[in-house]
């Protein structure tokens, strides 16, 4: 099993207050497998995600190592950055409604990605786009291609983003709160699309605060609290048998109607 991503003793400090927001994080992700970072706001999950993507703000200083296929992403030379981010590591943004150019049709935006990164003919590109949309769980692919972003729901746009990620043949896809901006109806469909991604062999790192999203995604879950990992287990185990008191608290607070109707 080759390790795609290795986080070694990652600490992130807020410079101004000398405060360690993420404390000595250690975890690995193998190629083709998936991982969920589950935590509430302030747990450090988003910062961890940002440091892997290389978009941590200047007010933070990271230490430790983030190894992607052996390269340390924390001190990557500018030349290699371009070849890794965008082609080998792709990101799914939180708010799909703002991630697209509102003035261009979906088809054109998808086509552009392929035009830049591949040397396929227009017909080949078109069929690849359709195929990717289908794999991402969308039906009526032609209609989607012909639509402007505002015509599609948040959930559909999110799946278009997943389709884009599929087309890049990225080895690792990082999704930071991909369902948070979506309506309840769209959440399940989006999570299912991520499951399909995983089944296809792409490594997925899912970051979420929603327990039920983590449960549905069904991979290994790292529960984060105050910058540390407090529990590391499969989604199934955590749902049925949470060990850490914080995980238990999180679980009972996330499924109120199942656990807590009578308690006051």
């Amino acid at each position: 099993m080759n390790k795609l991503l290795e986080i070694k003793d990652l600490s992130i400090t807020l410079k101004k207050e000398n405060w360690e927001v993420v404390k000595n994080l250690n975890f690995d992700l193998n190629a083709g497998s998936s991982l969920t970072l589950l935590g509430q706001s302030g747990s450090g999950k988003t910062l961890t995600c940002k440091s892997i993507l290389g978009v941590l703000g200047v007010q933070f200083s990271p230490s430790g190592e983030i190894l992607f296929e052996g390269h340390n992403l924390l001190n990557l030379p500018a030349k290699t950055r371009g070849s890794i981010y965008g082609s080998q590591i792709a990101m799914i943004a939180q708010n799909p409604m703002t991630a697209f150019d509102p003035s261009a049709k979906i088809g054109r935006q998808m086509d552009e990605t392929l035009r830049i990164h591949t040397k396929l003919s227009p017909a080949e590109r078109h069929s690849r786009c359709l195929q990717a949309l289908n794999e991402a769980g969308l039906t009526r692919e032609e209609t989607v291609m012909e639509s402007y972003p505002f015509m599609l729901s948040g959930g559909m746009l999110q799946r278009v983003m997943i389709a884009l990620a599929l087309m890049t043949d990225a080895k690792l896809i990082i999704a930071d709160e991909p369902t948070t901006a979506l309506d309840v109806e769209n959440r399940n469909a989006t999570v299912d699309a991520f499951v399909r991604l995983r089944e296809r062999g792409t490594a997925v790192l899912l970051v979420t605060h929603d327990f039920m999203v983590a449960a549905r995604f069904g991979s290994r879950v790292l529960v984060m609290k105050d910058g540390k990992i407090v529990e590391d287990d499969s989604a199934d185990n955590i749902l049925k048998n949470p060990k850490h008191p914080y995980t238990r608290e999180l679980l009972s607070a996330s499924r109120l109607s199942f656990y807590g109707r009578e308690e006051v």
């Binding site: 309506d183 399940n188 109607s257 006051v264």
Partner: protein, 253 residues
Amino acid sequence: MLEAKGLKKLYALKGKGAQSQMPAVNGVDITLQDGVSYALVGESGSGKSTLAKLLTGLISPSEGDFFLDGKSLVPKNKVDKSLHSKIQLILQDGKSALDPHFTVYDSIAEPIRNLLSVSRLQEKEMVLELMERMELPAALLKRTSGELSGGQQKRVCIARAISVSPRILIFDEAVSGLDVIVRKSILQLLKRLQQEQQCTYLFITHDIDVALYIANHIFVMKDGRIAECAVYDGDVTVFMHPYSKLLLESISP
């Protein structure tokens, strides 16, 4: 008991002439018994927020009426302040619902000053007592909303609403956007409060998990109308409407 009959709110569509109107609330009949917890679920655009604004007197209905103990509450001409002391509203975002320049004390005292006639001393006692019930330390009274956490802001909003001892409390997505653990503690507080105050709750939410936790009676709203009213006692099969079923699906893994 609050009874609404045939409530309608129409909004004129711009530029399409007087004939073209979009009903946000399209004929709602609803009855709220004293002391009972109700939840109102529905997708965005179903008219839930507009209904909340109608019932709290923020907007006037285009048609229909609603009554508290038989007396009509629709404000005829001027703003009817007595409506606000009977029916209160708690909004979604705690931070933006508080004036950033007001201290916590002033925020909580505001409805007391406007709607009740009590002396300054009594007002102070009431504020302190409310802080205690909200489990907030009195030291926070001097702070402004920006210096409070999300949960604390929400508690201040609740304190404002119950300060006038309203008969009915309407929550418009009041716990959406809170961390689940904070959300749970707020909901537990609200359950406790209801037992103490014996007031009626109307919980508007898109999250059926919250609805099932806090309420026994669930209304489902769709396209400006009440599509279903189910009495929930642990058995989810009481929900027949396809939208309710869709919502239930979203919370099962």
